[in-house]
């Protein structure tokens, strides 16, 4: 039963997640539009979910230990989440700098800001990205 539950969990975990997408104005009248893209990512890890998997996969005293661990982890990591927690919240702070490297003129249009992730259960790649057109 437990292994069936785990198998179903693994199969339904999916591999991609979109949290937010937003697009700005598009100006096609100023010149040639060249697509540019910037992606910044950080490894996400949900320790609480990992402890829950351990609890489901084990029995007796070990399962009880995993349950206690899960509860403690939930208590010390309280707060709203988008995807799995990361250990560095500064990973997306150089977005503007990288966009200007991709498009030195700074003439960007059709900016699409994306918050997404590649997921594998309690581990994920949390991604912040921007696709845009550079006006040449």
């Amino acid at each position: 039963m437990r292994w069936t539950a785990l198998l179903v969990l693994a199969l339904t975990a999916g591999c991609a997640r979109l949290d937010h997408v937003q697009i700005g104005s598009i100006d096609q009248s100023q010149g040639e539009l060249v697509p540019v893209s910037v992606r910044l990512s950080e490894t996400g890890f949900d320790a609480t979910a990992a402890a829950e998997i351990g609890r489901v996969a084990s029995r007796g005293r070990t399962a009880e230990n995993f349950k206690q661990l899960r509860d403690i982890l939930a208590l010390i990591n309280m707060g709203p989440r988008t995807g799995n927690p990361v250990f560095d919240d500064a990973y997306a702070q150089r977005l503007q700098e990288y966009l200007l490297v991709e498009c030195p003129s700074g003439r960007l249009t059709g900016i699409r800001a994306i918050r997404e992730a590649k997921t594998a259960g309690p581990v994920s790649g949390e991604i912040v990205g921007v696709d845009a057109y550079c006006i040449r």
């Binding site: 949290d19 937010h20 937003q22 700005g24 104005s25 950080e42 320790a47 230990n65 661990l69 403690i72 982890l73 208590l75 010390i76 990591n77 309280m78 707060g79 709203p80 989440r81 988008t82 995807g83 927690p85 990361v86 250990f87 560095d88 919240d89 990973y91 997306a92 702070q93 977005l95 503007q96 966009l99 200007l100 498009c103 003129s105 700074g106 003439r107 960007l108 249009t109 900016i111 800001a113 918050r115 949390e126 912040v128 921007v130 845009a132």
Partner: protein, 102 residues
Amino acid sequence: MKIRILLPLMLLTGCTHSVHMQHVSDFDDVPAAEKRSVVTAETEQTVVLGFVFETDYVDQAKQQLMTQCNGRLSAVTTQYSTSHGFLHWTNKIRMQGLCSEG
């Protein structure tokens, strides 16, 4: 034995974060590199067990950004994130823009 396992875990996971959103404004007439400077503003909101003590931290960040630039602000990026903690958490707003004055 349990404590030996739990303590490092608590230290390791007590400092997790979650980036909810990264907004990017239009890049309208961004000035040349030598004529612009990067300005940054950061504000926080502490939440204890769901009780909120500060509700205008987003406006404060915008005000901080405007105070640092008397000219034109463009290419503004806004990051909304949360730092998790023991029975409390901190919501954070970080705004960064390009300032061209004169």
